[in-house]
Every structure is written in structure tokens, then in C-alpha cells.
């Protein structure tokens, strides 16, 4: 018995020792010096570049590369993630056509809210848990770039000038920070003012050529007030104006621009509090709430149970919405069918029948109409490809491949499909051309387009619900708005400022403060935080003689 125990003891020790040796060898082998090139000179010819990268990877003994992508948005915006998937499928095809034995695999994650996703990215990037690609709002580029969490792709992009020239110039400005490029645009939108045609008709309000009147500054927010009042007094609607809840950015910031105000000083790089414009904005909200045209608790309304049913149910004259709502109302059951009493989605015909759309009107006469865009962009993790073999030596290759994936994901058809099914606006002209091409749109409806099966399966139900001429006509009709668009400031502390605005709006709506006091509250709160105060300039004065409407 003793002998047996002694022997088994040595056997165990022997096995453990062997395991340790094997592990050491494995680790050693993993750090093998590169067998092939570790970098490829990009030329701007996509096929050539991607083939070179593939060959280089193969020469280094890599057969599979894995990347992950995170994105957030409404359920129809899955292409923010599937665009990357499709791009890699196309690259895999190019490689197999060229007998390169490497494949890319993508792990996906798609959430609803983009801010918490960004916050999670912040805490997970340093531990290597964040995704390689992130599709999120452009406003975070400044923070991500400052902390070194995303790749500076200026040098890569410089080789692809043809692609760059096809992006809309204002949109392309949003991917830059301190004159370096950190992302490629993914989509954008505009924020029209939606008018209920039936409510307007009931109240005797004439919508003909209203869009033009708004465009040339004839119809302003004073006009909105009067119309809202008329609609409410005629009993045609419960509310005059409905807008977003929970935050002032981005929809409500339009008021500042509509009153000719500034939010950012490009010379000093600081945020700006324009007292006059903000006062007027808060006054409009305050006055409308006092006269029952906007709900006092607007900032707390539930999107799914209150805001959208109110809008689809025709209980408000005006809705400060976004272009994506046009298709959202066709895929989500916010509308209660008057005959059956059941909740259902609207048909495209109904959406067209119900809604008239214009720019965000000028605040007062003498100012210009506006809209606001919040481009979404694709960024690359500065540690992209880290989970793949031999990252330390092949880093450059993995980064180049990631960039090429982004280039492919920017293909016009991918961008066009995303725009149509999610009612965002295209970011490049070639995509806009596809959208205007009826033949192509018809093929898309039957999914007779050049997409990999995997992606087709995922978007099948969205395509069925959203692709039709009415929707593409809408997209084409709103693209003029991009000429009037503004972009919220790219400043790391801007979200904090917007948060303070939100509280101020809530307070004036509930009459907890009057507009002047609310402006002072904003200033006090900013000054209470020394870091924020240092980054904000306060200009202007509260006008003493100003009346509304």
C-alpha cells in the first residue's frame, strides 16, 4: 500500500512537470518571430490592398482572424453591425477567389442605447474587453481620441482620397479631431418637424407650401405657437407640440441654432452659453407649457406608451422628431387601430397620409431654419485584433485589415440599404444615387441584391416592412435638409453641458423656474464645477424687451 502511494505520488509529479513543459513550449511557439511581412503599403486600390494583406497574414501562418463589433440604435439600424459583417464576407470572398486561405470572423453585439454602450467601452477598452469596431455617435470621438482608445487612421485614409471625396463634406468633418481622422462616417439623419395633416385640416390650417415658408424663414416658432393654440382650441388635438424626453441633446438643441445662438467657439475650442438664445428657447417651452400646448411632464413621458402613441394617434399637431421615425412607425405597434382596438404598426401609405414635414423653423423672424444631424461613425479600437495570434508582431497588419474592413463597409449599397431600412440619410453621394434608383430599390425589396445570405436572413423582416417607394421618396425629399444642418459641438464636456440643459428644460416646463431663473441655474451649475467652468464661455444677455409669440 505504501509502495503504491509512493509510486502514484511520483506519477502525479511527473505528469504535472510534463504539462508545465508543454505549456512553456506552446507559449514559446506562440511568440514565434514573423515568417512573413508585418505590414503592407496601402495603395488605394482596394482589391490589391486587401489581397496583399491576406497574403501577408497567410505567410505568417494565420488562417482565421476574429474581430468584434459593438453598435447601438433602434432595432432597424442593425446594419451598423451587419455592415461590418457584410464587409468581411465580401473580403473573405475576394480572398477565396485569390486562393488565399484566410477567413475573417465577426462577433456582434447590438444594443439600444448608445451612451451606456460608450461608457462601457470606456471602462472595457483598457482591459482588452472592448470591441474592435464601435459604431457610435461622433461626439465621443474627442474623448476616445484624447485617451488613445481609438486608432488614428489619417495615414490610411490619405491613400483612399476617392472614397473621401464621395462623402458629404459636412459629414466628413465630424470624423476629425485636432485635424486628424479617427473614423469613417456611417450614417446621419435630419430632424424634421412633423405636422399631422388631419389635425391641421380639422383646425383649418393650410399646409400648402409650408415647407417652403419654413425654408425661407417666413414661418417661425411664433407661427407654431399660433397654429398649436388654434388646433388645441378647436379641439382637434390634445397637444400642440410634442418632443423628446429625457435629454436636451440632440433635438432640443436646435432651438439654440434656430435663434441664431452659438454653442461652440472654434477659435478657443470652448463651449459657449449664449444667454439670449437659450433664454428664448426656454421661454418658448415655458410659454407653451403654461398654455397647455406642451405637457408639463414632457421630459418624463414614456416613448413607447405615450410619445409615439400620441403622435401616431393624431393627438398632437406637431412632433419634433427624426427622419427615422418615418420607418419606425411602420415597424412598431404604437398605433391603436380605430376599428379593432388592437395596437399595430402603420402602413407606409398611412404614414404618408398622416404626416407633413418641414425643417425646424427659425426661432423668430430674421433668423434661419435649421436641422440637426448627429452622424454615427465607425471607429477602430487602438488595440484592434488583439485577440488574434501573434498580435505583438502583426499589430500593423491587423490594424490595416480593420481599416480595410471599414472601407468595404462604406460600400454604397451597404450604406444605401441601411439608409432605406432605418430611415437615416446616406453619408456618400454614390449611396444617394442608389436610393434614387427605382430599379435598384425594387430589387432590394425582393432581396435580389448582392448580399451574403447570413445578412439577408437577419434583415429579411425589416426589409419587408420598410422598403417601398413611399419611404425612398421620403428620404429623397428630406435630403435638402442636409444643406441647413448643424452638428452639435465636438467637445469632451459637451454631454455634461447638455445634461444641464435638460434639467433646465424640465424645470421650466413644470414651472419650477421661470426662463430667466432657469438660465441662471444653468450658469450656476456650470460654475459649480471648476473644470466645466474653465471650458465654457458665457456670452450675451437676457433680452429685456422680448415677447413671444
Amino acid at each position: 500500500m505504501e509502495r503504491l502511494k509512493a509510486i502514484s505520488k511520483y506519477v502525479v509529479i511527473g505528469i504535472v512537470a510534463m504539462l508545465i513543459i508543454i505549456a512553456a513550449v506552446a507559449i514559446f511557439l506562440m511568440q514565434a518571430p514573423p515568417a512573413g511581412p508585418t505590414k503592407v503599403e496601402l495603395t488605394g486600390n482596394f482589391e490589391k490592398d486587401v489581397v496583399e494583406v491576406g497574403k501577408a497574414l497567410e505567410a505568417n501562418g494565420i488562417s482565421e482572424v476574429t474581430y468584434s463589433v459593438w453598435a447601438a440604435g433602434d432595432p432597424n439600424s442593425v446594419m451598423r453591425v451587419l455592415g461590418i459583417v457584410e464587409a468581411t464576407n465580401r473580403i473573405n470572398k475576394i480572398w477565396s477567389d485569390n486562393n488565399i486561405n484566410v477567413k475573417i470572423r465577426i462577433d456582434t453585439r447590438f444594443e439600444r442605447e448608445f451612451m451606456p454602450l460608450f461608457e462601457e467601452y470606456l471602462s472595457k477598452q483598457p482591459t482588452g474587453q472592448a470591441s474592435d469596431f464601435l459604431a457610435n455617435s461622433y461626439i465621443y470621438i474627442s474623448t476616445l481620441a484624447e485617451e488613445g482608445y481609438i486608432l488614428d487612421i489619417t495615414d490610411y485614409v490619405s491613400k483612399y482620397s476617392e472614397l473621401v471625396n464621395d462623402f458629404y463634406p459636412t459629414i466628413f468633418e465630424s470624423v476629425k479631431w485636432k485635424d486628424r481622422i479617427y473614423a469613417l462616417p456611417q450614417d446621419t439623419e435630419a430632424r424634421p418637424l412633423y405636422f399631422r395633416k388631419d389635425v391641421a385640416a380639422c383646425a383649418g390650417l393650410d399646409l400648402t407650401s409650408l415647407a417652403d415658408k419654413v425654408k425661407n424663414g417666413e414661418f417661425t416658432w411664433s407661427g407654431i405657437y399660433n397654429w398649436a393654440k388654434q388646433a388645441k382650441e378647436a379641439g382637434c388635438a390634445d397637444w400642440g407640440v410634442i418632443h423628446r424626453k429625457g435629454s436636451a441633446h440632440p433635438d432640443l438643441i436646435q432651438f439654440i441654432y434656430a435663434f441664431g445662438g452659438k454653442l461652440y467657439n472654434p477659435d478657443t475650442g470652448k463651449l459657449v452659453i449664449d444667454k439670449e438664445a437659450i433664454y428664448k428657447w426656454l421661454y418658448v417651452e415655458w410659454k407653451m407649457a403654461r398654455d397647455g400646448l406642451i405637457p408639463e411632464n414632457m421630459m418624463e413621458w414614456d416613448w413607447g406608451k405615450q410619445i409615439h402613441p400620441t403622435v401616431t394617434g393624431g393627438k398632437t399637431l406637431v412632433f419634433i422628431g427624426g427622419t427615422w421615425h418615418w420607418t419606425e412607425y411602420q415597424t412598431r405597434s404604437y398605433y391603436t387601430d380605430p376599428t379593432t382596438g388592437e395596437p399595430r404598426a402603420l402602413t407606409a401609405e398611412e404614414v404618408k397620409e398622416f404626416f407633413y414635414y418641414t425643417l425646424f423653423p427659425a426661432g423668430e423672424s430674421g433668423k434661419d431654419p435649421v436641422t440637426l444631424s448627429q452622424p454615427f461613425v465607425w471607429t477602430i479600437n487602438s488595440r484592434a485584433g488583439e485577440k488574434n495570434p501573434n498580435y505583438d508582431t502583426l499589430k500593423e497588419l491587423y490594424h490595416e485589415l480593420a481599416f480595410l474592413i471599414l472601407v468595404k463597409a462604406s460600400d454604397p449599397d451597404i450604406n444605401a440599404i441601411h439608409s432605406i431600412i432605418s430611415a437615416h440619410l446616406p453619408v456618400r453621394k454614390a449611396a444617394a444615387q442608389l436610393i434614387a434608383d427605382e430599379n435598384w430599390v425594387n430589387k432590394l425589396k425582393n432581396l435580389e441584391v448582392d448580399l451574403s445570405d447570413e445578412v439577408k436572413d437577419q434583415i429579411r423582416d425589416i426589409v419587408a416592412a420598410t422598403v417601398n417607394p413611399i419611404n425612398t421618396e421620403f428620404l429623397a425629399n428630406v435630403s435638402y435638409m442636409l444643406d441647413y444642418t448643424h452638428i452639435a459641438p465636438i467637445h469632451p464636456l459637451y454631454p455634461k453641458l447638455a445634461d444641464i440643459f435638460k434639467d433646465a428644460v424640465d424645470m421650466v416646463l413644470r414651472n419650477q423656474k421661470d426662463p430667466a431663473a432657469a438660465v441662471q441655474y444653468i450658469i450656476d451649475t456650470v460654475n459649480a464645477d471648476p473644470d466645466l467652468a474653465a471650458e465654457v464661455e458665457i456670452i450675451g444677455e437676457i433680452p429685456s424687451e422680448w415677447s413671444y409669440p
Partner: protein, 319 residues
Amino acid sequence: MKYKLKDFLRNKKYEYLIFILPALILIIIFYILPVALSVYISFTPLKNWNLDKYLGTIVGFRNYERFFHMLQYDPIIRNVFLTTIAFIGITLVINVLGGLLLALATYFVSQKFSSVFRTLWLLPRMAPIAVYSLVWYYFFHGSDIGTLNSFLMYLGLIKKPISWGYDIIPWGPWSIIIFVNGLVGVSFGMIIFTSAISNIPKELVIAARVDGASNWQISTKIFIPLMKWHILYVTTWQLLSLLTTYAHIFLLVQWGLVSKQYGTTWSLYIYQVAFTGRTDQGLAAAAGVILVIVGGILGYITLRILGFERMITKPRGDI
């Protein structure tokens, strides 16, 4: 070498080490080290989790200065402070009294009935936090889809739905977070007091009953005096709990059920500053260190009042 190790282990004096080693290791890694690190971080300008960039820099007491500056001038921080005090004070009373009342009440009714209901009162504590928060999100929703609102409107007590989390400042949001946490906290006292009551000799009660004592008299003249220590224990223990808890109101604020400034306690505020919004870990650490100091002082006072000796019986000793 094997020989010496075995000897060491066999030595009765050190045998206990093996047993408490797992706990000790975990305590060091997950309590002591993190606090020490938090203290260090509070002296750095760490933000956005960029340890590489900021951790090497020491900015002295700047985070503390900022925090105190904000405490003075930022209305939001002041409200967080007020909320914390109201929250702790009122929930504490509810937790202790509620636990006491439940323990007493269930004593006077049938066994089966009381064990079912005592179990139900454990549900808030045991249920997953996400589910628990979802329940109250809809219960207190400020529109007519909220359960409370629809019930009150049905009874005709209110005409329009009330936005509990935002309208009635500050008692609306305060009531919600107190209620939500109170339901969780009551179960602790309930268990302790039930156990204490069950240890009281039945003869005392029977004798009192025979003398014609009512439930109330039995409770106040017999039970409560004998449970003085337990009541103190529950009170001080819950005080520390309430100072440090944040998980049960985290989602309510995140989902926008309650106003942020009146629904956030100090403990939650630290998490928010570190992980959301400004992601300023240096500031969060500073606020956190202050909280730890407060907690430490309260903890020490607790132990003095309760008498540490009494909390620790000798091994195999009797009560």
C-alpha cells in the same frame, strides 16, 4: 522540505490559519486593497479609466477641493447629500419598526400563515435586482400606466396621474427610493426579531396571558424589553447597510423613474461619477474615501454601543 511543511501544519497553534486563509485572501484582495487603491486614486486625476495616462500623476487634494466646492455650489450635489440623509434616516426607522412589527404580528397568528408571509417578505431581498427594479418601475410610473396611479384614479382619489418620481419634489422620489429599499431592509429585522422572540421562554407569555394581558401588553412589556440588544443590533447594522447600499436604486435612476438628484444617494453618486456621465474616477474616489471615513466612524461607534464582547461569544459558549 515536505517534512517541515507537514510539521507546520500539524502544529496546533497554526491549524486555524488553513481555515481562515480563503476568507483572508478574499478580504485582502477585494476589500483592503481596493480601499487602499481608491485612496491612492483620489489623489490622481484619473478619468475615462485611462490608468496608463493619469495614474502616475499626483494632484494632491484637488479632487477633494473640487468635491467640497461642488458640495457648496452645485445644487445637484447638495440635493444628493440631502437625499442621502433623508433616505438613511427614514428607511432606518421603517426597517427597524417594520421588522419589529412583522415579527410581533406573525407571532400572534397561526404558524403556517406567518411562515408563508415571512417568506414573501424575503422576496424583495432575494429577487434579482433587475426584476425587482422592473416591478417598481411600473408600479410608480408617472403616467396613467403606472399601477399606483391607475389604482388611485380608479378609487377616484386623484384626477390626473401623478409623476411620483419628478413632480413632488423632494418627497416623491424620496418616497420611492425609501419604499423600494425599505421592503428589502425589513426582512433583516424580521428574521432577527423572530428568532429572538422564539428564544423567549413560553412560560412567561402563558403566564401573562392567563393574567389577561393583551397582545399589545405582551409585546411592549415582555418582548421588547427582552429584545433591547437585538433592536440595537438591527438598528446599527441597518444604519451601516443604508449608508453603503446602492444596487436597488441604481436601475430606478438609470431608467429615469426618479429624478436623478433626488433619487441618488451618496453611495450611488460615487458609482455614477465613476462609471457614467463624467467617468471621473478621481473625483469618485475622493467622494468615496469620505464616505468610507464616515462609515468607519459609524462602524466604530456601533461596536462601542453594542459592546463588541457581547457580539462575540467564546467558542462553544452559551448566549
